[in-house]
């Protein structure tokens, strides 16, 4: 599939800030199943900083933006040729050992509810267990935008029974770790016209490490494994750790507002 991405994030500040520093993870992962045809990131007034690939295989690009400024835009435009790898991450160079991804964070901390959910899933071998856990999470948390917020934990979303892709991913990560499977949060893009559901084009899912197979993606929000409709950007322990854009404004005294527009289209159609 040939997917085109047009992603703009606009930050506005009620009173001008002195300067901004950002760290981006906005470049498609180098792996089987996605080939970048074109990819351009621009930041209004931004100076490119550090540029490297980290231990998780994510391409990191730093930016600094001199002020005073009241608004900046981060724009990502590109085209990626994708193929379906049945969710399996192959050809991805990374140096972090799988065991590292067993570590719990505040957002993925286990509680009794998650423990019970994880315990109910059963499967022959790690792969079947991972599928069962993804199904269990999909069944336990209904997709409902607005029910949760950026800081909702896995335990809270499960108790609520509703959430968005971030909550599904957090809950699945918590359950997988409870069953001894390394798991991580993945951020990326999703072309969602196919199923007609109104899922966010800026998407997130989870990867679970299956011995002998490697990392396998699971998207409980859509009850499937990532396929040719998905573009993978980067990973982390949780949503905060895997955030595609992180930034700090110096001399910020007023409120910051954020406006995000993402369009993922099938360029081949």
């Amino acid at each position: 599939m040939r997917l085109s991405v047009d992603h703009t994030t606009r930050y506005s500040y009620a009173s001008p800030v002195r300067s901004l520093v950002q760290s981006h993870r906005l470049t498609p992962s180098v792996c089987e199943g996605q080939r970048v045809l074109s990819w351009e990131i621009s930041v209004t007034g931004g100076i490119r900083g550090a540029d490297f690939t980290d231990g998780a295989g994510d391409r990191i690009q730093g930016w600094s933006i001199a002020g005073p400024l009241s608004e900046i835009g981060v724009t990502v435009k590109g085209e990626v040729e994708t193929t379906d790898t049945a969710g399996v991450l192959r050809g991805h160079r990374e140096a972090i050992r799988p065991e590292v991804w067993l570590r719990e964070t505040a957002m993925t901390a286990a509680d009794a509810g998650l423990g019970a959910l994880a315990a109910r899933a059963s499967g022959e071998g790690s792969l079947a267990l991972a599928h069962a856990l993804a199904e269990a999470v999909a069944g336990a948390i209904a997709y409902r935008p607005g029910a949760t917020h950026a800081h909702t934990t896995a335990a809270e979303a499960l108790a609520l029974g509703e959430g968005v892709c971030q909550d599904h991913a957090h809950a699945l990560i918590a359950c997988a770790r409870l069953r001894g499977l390394p798991a991580r949060y993945v951020s990326g893009y999703l072309f969602a016209a196919a199923d007609g559901q109104p899922h966010e084009a800026a998407h997130a899912w989870a990867e679970i490490f299956v011995a002998g197979l490697g990392w396998v993606g699971f998207d409980p929000a859509n009850a499937c494994c990532p396929d040719a409709r998905y573009i993978r950007l980067g990973s982390g322990f949780d949503a905060r750790d895997a955030a595609p854009i992180r930034g700090v404004a110096r001399g910020a005294s007023g409120a910051e507002s954020l406006d995000v527009a993402v369009a993922v289209l099938s360029a081949g159609q």
Partner: protein, 471 residues
């Protein structure tokens, strides 16, 4: 505990050689002179302003730590062995850090369990895949040692992040030389004042590849409210470096810059005295205002060096400590010169059996505990306490380690009644950069209360000048 080795008087066989000349000194020190000198020392410390808690113990930053004028003395031969042992350990700890943030050979070889490293809170995922200049993560390794006999030394713990207290090593010497110049003429005491120059050279030697010309080095402090702020400014003065706070630095493009009155200056090496968690809100704690946003990206792309490197703390973790002798064998192919305190891991069935059989003689600690909580000191516990602890231990053996109770050596110390033996420990500071450097000296902490083994300054500990005699 009652048969402690005294470093001056041995185990009753007369004065040991390194201390021979101090006998005379002591004999010619009447009580009045002693009080006078003690008051003079205190005034000097006050004037210099050296008033901070050692080893980040917190407490009142303006409190003076008691200085005991009776020096601790090592012969050249005694020190030679400590020197070899400390350097060996510093090399092995750095080799371990290169390995666990790289290929992980020691884990693959099954010499240390993956979980102890990878699931350790001090193991920093962001440090994986980047090798700092010269493969050095811990540039200042502080090794805490105790002695139990003429030739018996044990390592209590390693400090690979930013060990503090070296300013005491330097100031204690300075003050002793001012007060007792004759002692320094009579004894061939090796100097320690090269430390600052060596530290500066060590820091300069790990400048990033991108650095052109003379590297610009700064010391990054959390600020004056920090209990070790005195030491930060002391070292900055000695080395002629800028002492900066996070707000004095900023990231622009691929580099870190310092705001100065002459405009921004590029910074190449940061000797940081703030913890990993506070270094960069973009990478670690987002609420931290002590650090520099974007610093980690610059570091990981080779634009600036951080001393110690983020993630170095995994090498000085309590659970990792037990594997340091194994690291020495694995990376260096040598036998450890300095031993760990024998440690039984209760997770291991045969170790557990030994611990349960000898519970009344051992110290049992929680693997991740600190501050003496959840701990059993066998010889000091009642039978009921031992039995209660036995039940907790059996319920969760993996959570505990056990060690023998050590009879820490004593050194004569001035007390109200005269001179009496008091227990001591030792922290040498090993520098690792292009070369490995260790000045012949260390910080000696002394437990001023009779019989006490607790040398912490928050619990009645003091400090002593530590001499290494030339052969």
């Amino acid at each position: 505990m009652d048969a402690a080795f005294d470093e001056m008087n041995g185990s009753g066989g007369g004065t040991r050689i390194p201390y021979a000349r101090l006998e005379d000194w002591l004999a010619h020190m009447p009580r009045e002179l002693r009080s006078l000198k003690q008051a003079e020392a205190e005034a000097l410390f006050r004037r210099i302003g050296i008033t901070f808690a050692v080893y980040g113990e917190g407490g009142d930053p303006d409190r003076l730590i008691p200085f005991d004028m009776f020096p601790r003395v090592f012969s050249g031969a005694e020190w030679a062995r400590l020197d070899r042992g400390v350097r060996q350990r510093a090399r092995a700890l750095n080799a371990f850090l290169v390995d666990v943030y790289g290929r992980g050979e020691i884990i693959r070889a099954g010499r240390i369990p993956a979980d102890i490293v990878c699931r350790n809170a001090a193991y920093e995922k962001a440090a994986v895949g980047f090798v700092p200049p010269r493969g050095v993560y811990s540039h200042i390794v502080g090794i805490d040692l105790v002695r139990t006999g003429p030739d018996e030394f044990f390592v209590l713990e390693d400090n690979c992040r930013t060990p503090s207290g070296v300013s005491y090593m330097l100031e204690n010497r300075e003050i002793m030389m001012r007060m007792f110049p004759a002692l320094f003429r009579e004894n061939r005491i090796q100097p320690v004042d090269s430390y600052a120059g060596l530290l500066r050279r060590t820091l300069a030697s790990v400048a990033p590849l991108k650095c052109e010309g003379e590297p610009r080095i700064v010391i990054l402090t959390p600020g004056p409210f920090n209990s070790a702020y005195y030491e930060h400014s002391f070292l900055a003065d000695l080395m002629g470096l800028e002492l900066v706070e996070g707000q004095d630095l900023f990231v622009d493009g691929e580099y870190v810059w310092e705001r100065t009155t002459e405009g921004p200056k590029r910074v190449d090496v940061i000797y940081r005295r703030i913890d990993d968690a506070f270094l960069d809100p973009l990478c670690f704690r987002p609420d931290s205002t002590l650090g520099v946003p974007g610093l980690m990206d610059v570091y990981r792309s080779g634009g600036v060096s951080l001393c110690s490197a983020p993630g170095a703390g995994v090498a000085d973790d309590k659970a990792v400590y037990t594997y340091v002798p194994e690291m020495i064998r694995f990376y260096l192919g040598e036998e450890p010169v300095l031993n760990n305190v024998p440690t039984w891991k209760c997770a291991d069935a045969s170790d557990l059996k030994y611990v349960l059989d000898n519970l009344a003689d051992l110290v049992v600690k929680e693997v991740h505990g600190s501050g003496g909580y959840g701990m059993l000191v066998g010889p000091k516990a009642s039978r009921a306490e031992v039995e209660a602890f036995r039940a907790r231990l059996c319920a969760d053996p993996a959570n505990y380690i056990a060690q023998p109770t050590l009879a820490l050596s004593t050194v004569p110390t001035f007390v109200d009644e005269g001179v009496a033996p008091r227990h001591v420990d030792l922290r040498p500071y090993c520098l690792v950069g292009e070369r490995i450097e260790l000045v012949p000296g260390a910080l000696t902490r002394v437990a001023l209360r009779e019989g006490s083994l607790v040398v912490n300054s928050s619990q009645g500990g003091g400090v002593k000048d530590t001499w290494v005699l030339a052969e």
